[in-house]
């Protein structure tokens, strides 16, 4: 089984969810900025990230954990993956897509813009703010994933 955490113009939330899933980040307290910065792929998205799947790691059970970001229309990717698995005659749980969506996708675009003009530090600060704002949602969402 594989897990794909899907962000909307954002890799900060998927990277955090993946880390919680892999137990590289504790989910009981909101992590510090430095802890988050140490996570793989914890950064603003750039053009080449569009739809690219990044393998973050593997659980003890051997499940692959991936993250990806899409610009918009997250729901069509859920349908696309489901129907592709159907085409391959694979069970839907072979790849579980977990959306980690920003409440306001424009903030993700703002982070991308900051990263694009070289202000990576500020992009990361905004990203951490997003993670802190949504941390308890992420923590609760991680409970619905059979880790």
């Amino acid at each position: 089984m594989n897990y794909l955490y899907l962000g909307l113009a954002d890799l900060y939330l998927p990277a955090t969810m993946a880390a919680i899933h892999l137990h590289t980040l504790a989910s009981d307290v909101a992590p510090a900025h430095q802890q988050l910065l140490a996570l793989p792929f914890y950064r603003a998205v750039c053009k080449n990230d569009e739809g690219t799947l990044y393998r973050v790691g593997e659980t003890e059970a051997g499940d692959g954990v991936y993250i990806a970001s899409v610009k918009e229309h997250a729901e069509i990717f859920l349908r696309g993956v489901d129907s592709l698995l159907g085409v391959y005659k694979m069970p839907r749980h072979a790849v579980k897509v977990v959306p980690c969506l920003l409440e306001n996708p424009q903030v993700g675009h703002l982070c991308s813009l900051l990263g694009h003009i070289g202000l990576h530090h500020f992009a990361d600060l905004v990203g951490t703010r997003l993670v802190h704002n949504r941390f308890y949602d992420l923590k609760n969402a991680s409970k619905t994933v059979p880790i």
Binding site: N2, L4, E50, G51, T52, L53, G64, Y66, A68, V70, K71, E72, H73, E75, I76, F77, L78, R79, G80, V81, S83, L84, L85, G86, V87, Y88, M90, A94, V95
Partner: protein, 154 residues
């Protein structure tokens, strides 16, 4: 597993990708522009809704046993290619997918007609326009399909 999975995609998965898949499978003749009625006999032509976007629709097998699909990807076709290719690689079947974007064959009449018919739901106004646009764009779509067939036949 038989052959490749050939996926024609466009914005709504209702016109150009459906037409391309039908040409690929010989349901429409490549050399002859179909009539409006012939286009409308295609099950999916001008019938998709936004709730169907992202869903792969199987059309059939071509002469090389490749599977032919159509799908609507809105304006994120390239991203969809990346995601599905990534997922296919993840499950060990990455070499089988072939994506063909038909959106660049779409004429302005198809865009306006498609919007009126599919988005606004005004089928009686939009459908004749999109059918006319599809007939005008047909040679371009047929040429694209021929390129694909040349590639898969090698």
């Amino acid at each position: 597993m038989r052959g490749k999975h050939i996926i024609y995609h466009c914005y709504g998965g209702a016109h150009s990708s459906v037409t391309a898949a039908a040409i690929h499978l010989g349901k429409l003749q490549a050399a002859k522009v179909p009539t409006g009625d012939e286009l409308l006999t295609l099950t999916l032509f001008d019938r998709q809704t936004k709730e169907d976007h992202g869903q792969l629709h199987f059309f059939g097998f071509d002469e090389w046993e490749n599977l032919v699909f159509s799908v609507g990807c809105r304006n994120v076709g390239k991203t969809m290619e990346n995601v599905l290719q990534g997922v296919a690689t993840m499950v060990g079947l990455g070499d089988e997918l072939m994506f063909i974007d038909t959106l660049h064959c779409v004429s302005i009449k198809m865009r306006i007609g498609g919007y009126i018919s599919r988005r606004l739901g005004l089928v009686t106004i939009g459908r004749p326009l999109v059918v006319q646009g599809t007939r005008e764009a047909y040679p371009k779509i047929a040429e694209l399909v021929q390129q694909v067939k040349n590639e898969v036949s090698r």
